[in-house]
């Protein structure tokens, strides 16, 4: 019988994607649907003096025009995570209005909303809305936002801090250890701001049905149920059972489509006002201006070592931008998704991180592929490589000296970090060994020395990362400020004919769930993949769910499905035992049938499911049907890890960096589909290389975005990327049934510091010790000059 787990099964969803037949929100056309456009602020910080909509209201085809003075101006979208000040003060949580009324706090903030019969007419009418602003000075840098006299984003508080938080050991203890350290390495840099750039821009259709008194919101979201919850319970206060949120195909999210955005709530509100469906699709400019950005940390860090190169202490202070308002997960990103990873893969005994998170006159910052973990990894992996240089040690050797020893998490306990978490299982030296072997590290060092003699600038950079995935044990995250549980729902409905519909609260927007989930369901039930359909993205079909982010779908969502499969098989066994006139204990289930052990008497899965729905000859006390739903709340996070190694050549004339090789040895636990895991790693690595070399959101002093289009925001292209050489080690996750850890973000987490380490390595003999990311030709050349 054909099995599927661990095989590179081709993605079923690609059939429609490759034919251009995907069903994205913007593809949907409803009867009587209106179109809409926003009037957005050209200033980052301004007083709204007046808004005159009279000309727009009279324009051809206009259905309605709303401003912050209408009822929707009193509505805001909520934040889903509360991180309080370390002194006990509650997190400062401003109202995040659907439309700005008196004040503009970031470039592109919506001031008016125009609904018309066509998109063209909506755009034309939006130009007729006359807004008078009084521009005010803006602050976009998180550090400057905390300087005295900085322009305030929200007037109600004395400064711009949303919170000031710390984690780890006592600061004084860490400082004392640093003071006594044999060597201290110090770094100050910016982990710069990125725009998420999903190919499909955000798109929404809200449809209020007057007769049914029901709303349907079609939305390009990563988590339809979460959007429904936030929309109903917080933003609009409408009854959850009368709201259906649908997100069919979604063209990439990278975190930016997790959040409940103001436009979703506004369309939903306005649809009832006008009694018609409304569509809005962001254009690329709006995406740059209004999709939640990622990163934007200003970091100052010191790592101390003893004379043998063992890390003795690590102290870090960061300013992490929140943007103008608190986006759904924003407070969690530089704190519980970041500080909790400061242990890295090392035995550092003393760790302290302080995070000041200020409001800035920019679009909100939230989770972006990796969310806090790439920022943690970048710091750890850069500073340890810098330390190796300073102490004249090999960067691989310094890592080996400091690794946490291998542990499997079953017969050996998990590893308790200094920063709240307990790692599940790991073998960190294993991935580095394999990575070095794949690269041929010793030979490379010889080649590099030769090349240097000829004036060629070659460098190698290592990164050995760990990340926390499988978000998350609800009670744990609840104690850390999450306002939601982070379990997942898996529902297995066996149809009378033995065909299976699986409903998952996870959401696929590029990950390939329709394939991977069907693979393991097929193996667990012993039926063909073709007999299994994976349903997601519709709150009317899927009971509940928390969506997809934080590499959680398989580890949490998959586990929920497994739980339901177990229930199906348990009930199926009762029916089978009755039909086979045998005791349940005497049955075994394999290859899609129950067999009486040691005999050839058996009954197939299909016969049992038919019996369950046509229960004429049926066990007593057993309900008809074969349909189970389960909630799975994980007991721990999962901790994928790996080694990424980059080899670069720097052009001595221009400073341009070329990546010659990229080696990735990742450990994501058990692998369901190696092709899809490779794809996830490739995609992540490309995004990580993008951050290292190319991508950056730049705001100027007035808060104008210098990089608001692809003319100026550099995305990685195929010819920027080398062949990515991948391999894996396998250390199963000990606490979930599939033993899986998660692969969605690993690539973006491990790769960035590997590339920058390589560039610095290539230039180290010239005295270069650090280069601000992205390491553009200009920056590299300037570093070489000084």
């Amino acid at each position: 019988m054909e099995t599927f787990i661990g095989k590179p099964v081709k993605r079923r969803e690609d059939n429609r994607f490759l034919k251009g037949a995907g069903k994205y929100t913007d593809d949907i056309k409803l009867h009587g649907m209106t179109h809409s456009a926003f009037v957005r602020s050209p200033y980052a910080h301004a007083k709204i003096v007046s808004v005159d909509t009279s000309a727009a209201e009279k324009a051809e085809g206009v259905v309605a025009v709303y401003t912050g003075s209408d009822a929707c101006g009193t509505i805001g979208v909520p934040c889903g995570w509360q991180v309080d000040f370390k002194n006990g003060e509650t997190m400062r949580e401003p109202m995040h209005p659907l439309l700005a009324k008196d004040k503009i706090r970031h470039l592109g903030e919506a001031v008016a909303f125009v609904i018309a019969e066509t998109l063209e007419l909506a755009r034309d009418a939006a130009e007729l809305v006359d807004v008078k602003y009084e521009a005010l000075p803006a602050v976009t840098c998180p550090k400057k936002a905390m300087a005295s006299g900085a322009p305030k984003v929200h007037d109600e508080w004395e400064d711009n801090a949303a919170f000031d938080w710390c984690i780890g050991n006592d600061r004084a203890e860490v400082e004392a250890a640093l003071a006594n350290a044999h060597h201290v390495t110090e770094m100050t840099y910016k982990n710069h701001r990125l725009a998420p750039n999903a190919i499909e821009p955000r798109s929404y259709i809200a449809d209020y049905d007057v007769n049914a008194d029901k709303w349907t919101l079609y939305t390009s979201t990563q988590n339809p149920h979460l959007v429904r919850l936030l929309l109903c319970a917080f933003a609009l206060g409408i009854p959850e059972h009368k709201v259906r949120v649908v997100s069919y195909d979604v063209g990439g999210g990278f975190g930016s489509k997790i959040y409940h955005y103001t436009e979703e709530a506004l369309l939903t509100w306005a649809s009832k006002e006008i009694g018609r469906p409304i569509k809005w699709t962001s254009d690329r400019t709006e995406a740059f201006l209004t999709d939640a950005h990622g990163r934007d940390h200003i970091v100052h860090s010191k790592m101390g070592f003893d004379k043998d190169g063992k890390i003795v202490a690590h102290l870090t202070d960061e300013f992490c931008a929140m943007g103008a308002y608190l986006s759904t997960f924003a407070p969690a990103v530089p704190t519980y998704l970041h500080g909790t990873l400061f242990q890295g893969v090392y035995t550092t005994p003393l760790i302290h991180l302080n995070v000041v998170a200020p409001f800035t006159h920019t679009v909100p910052v939230d989770a972006y592929r990796g969310a806090g973990r790439p920022e943690a990894t970048y710091l750890l992996e850069r500073i340890i490589s810098k330390a190796a240089k300073e102490m004249d040690m090999d960067p691989a050797e310094l890592r080996f000296k400091n690794f946490i020893s291998p542990f499997n998490g079953t017969t050996e306990p998990g590893y308790q970090t200094q920063v709240a978490l307990q790692y599940d299982s790991g073998n960190y030296e294993g991935v580095l060994k394999r990575g070095l072997e794949m690269l041929g590290y010793e030979d490379f060092r010889k080649e590099q020395a030769e090349a240097r003699k000829n004036g060629k600038l070659l460098g190698v950079g290592i990164s050995t990362y760990i990340e926390g995935c499988g978000i998350a044990p609800s009670a744990v995250v609840g104690s850390l400020g999450a306002r939601a549980g982070l379990y997942e729902v898996g529902h297995v409905r066996v149809q009378p004919t033995g065909k299976v519909s699986v409903f998952t609260g996870a959401h696929s927007h590029g990950q390939g769930h329709e394939t991977v989930f069907a693979q393991f369901v097929a193996d667990k039930l012993g039926i063909p993949m073709d007999d299994i359909d994976i349903v997601h993205g519709d709150t009317d079909q899927v009971a509940f769910g928390m969506g997809t982010y934080g590499s959680r779908s398989l580890a949490v969502g998959g586990s929920a499905i497994i739980k339901s499969i177990e229930k199906v098989l348990e009930k199926g066994a009762k029916i089978a035992a009755h039909k086979l006139e045998a005791a349940e204990e005497d049955l075994e289930y394999a290859e899609g049938k129950w067999t009486v052990k040691g005999t050839d008497k058996s009954i197939s899965f299909g016969d049992v499911s038919l019996t369950a729905y046509v229960p004429h000859d049926y066990p007593e006390g057993v309900e008809p049907g074969l349909d189970f739903s389960s909630f799975y709340d994980p007991t721990n996070f999962t901790y994928p890890f790996g080694t990424h190694i980059a080899v670069v050549e720097v052009c001595s004339d221009t400073g341009k960096v070329e990546i010659k090789r990229f080696v990735a040895c990742d450990d994501v636990g058990n692998v369901m589909n190696p092709m899809i895991v490779d794809g996830q790693i490739h995609g992540g690595v490309v995004q990580g290389i993008g951050q290292a070399l190319l991508e950056e959101v730049v705001y100027d002093g007035e808060g104008q975005m210098v990089t608001g289009s692809y003319m100026d925001y550099a995305m990685p292209r195929a010819d920027d990327i080398p062949m990515i050489e991948t391999d894996r080690t396998t250390t199963p996750c000990p606490h979930n049934p599939l033993g899986v850890k998660g692969a969605g973000e690993a690539g973006a987490i491990g790769s960035t510091p590997a590339v920058v380490n390589a560039v610095v390595d290539a230039l180290s003999h010239l005295g270069v010790t650090d280069i601000q990311m992205p390491v553009t030709p200009k920056r590299v050349w300037k570093a070489m000059q000084s």
Binding site: T654, L694, W781
Partner: protein, 268 residues
């Protein structure tokens, strides 16, 4: 990304196009490949009321040999230039330049006439027409005239074309020994610096784009070429106050890159 309303007229002859330009004045724009104009219209940075499409005008998209010269119709696309045997053998510098303009879609639609008329300070062709001493053939209500490349570019997005004039063709001399060196801007893949170099015995002609607001002939380099081994160091002589600056390349780095790319071109 939806342009403001406009009227569309397809011209079938040069004189019709000129007549329409005269009639609509400032409100009208010529449309050729649309790969500079339409993006600007979609952002509503440009909002012509009338578009005069010149793509249907016959004779404006041929590439012909005329003695020692090659005449390229203004409507020839970058792809036409890449694929022309004549250009590949007699004016190779232009084919190799066109090959690196944008991507396939851009090359299939964008035209040489449109690119020159648009005069983007980071466009590639300007360096080449300068180094080749090409001539821009134009026609307007007062008739035809020929503008030497060296007199064509006046500033950022500004040329010597009069309001009622269109470019009909570009006349190049055959060039045996020329090359174009481009340092790509990593986002747009336009030129941060582009240097075209045409060598003839001991003399050289060097055209530079991307560096100053107006593409220029690096005459200081040309003068120093035969005598000095570091001719390239004169790449931005006299332009110190006109260097462009953006977050990819400030003045200092741009000036350095200009010298590097000129050197590369001289040595190629």
């Amino acid at each position: 990304m939806i342009p403001a309303k406009f009227e569309y007229i397809k011209a079938s002859s040069v004189s019709e196009a000129i007549g329409l330009l005269e009639k609509h004045g400032d409100d009208a724009k010529i449309l050729s490949g649309g790969h500079s104009l339409i993006p600007a219209m979609k952002l509503r940075l440009s909002r012509p009321e009338v578009l005069i499409d010149i793509n249907g005008i016959s004779g404006m998209n041929s590439i012909t040999e005329d003695g020692n010269e090659i005449l390229i119709g203004a409507n020839c696309t970058h792809a036409d230039i890449v694929n022309s045997d004549l250009i590949n053998s007699e004016l190779n510098i232009l084919a190799s330049t066109a090959k690196h303009i944008g991507d396939i879609q851009v090359r299939n639609r964008g035209t040489i006439g449109g690119s020159l008329a648009h005069a983007d300070p980071a466009a590639d062709y300007p360096a080449v027409v300068l180094a080749c001493d090409a001539k821009i053939e134009v026609e307007g209500k007062s008739g035809k005239r020929t503008i030497p490349a060296t007199e064509f570019f006046l500033g950022i997005f500004t040329t010597a074309l009069a309001e009622d004039e269109i470019i009909t063709a570009i006349r190049f001399p055959k060039v045996a020994n020329g090359n174009y060196q481009k340092f790509f801007q990593s986002a747009s893949r336009f030129a941060v610096v582009g240097v075209a170099c045409v060598k003839d015995g001991n003399s050289v002609k060097v055209g530079v784009t991307g560096v100053a607001g107006t593409p220029y002939r690096a005459t200081a380099v040309e003068d120093a070429y035969s005598g000095s081994s570091d001719a390239a160091s004169h790449a931005v002589d006299g332009l110190e106050d006109e260097l462009m600056s953006d977050h990819f390349a400030d003045e200092e780095y741009r000036a350095h890159l200009a010298k590097v790319m000129v050197k590369k071109a001289l040595e190629a």
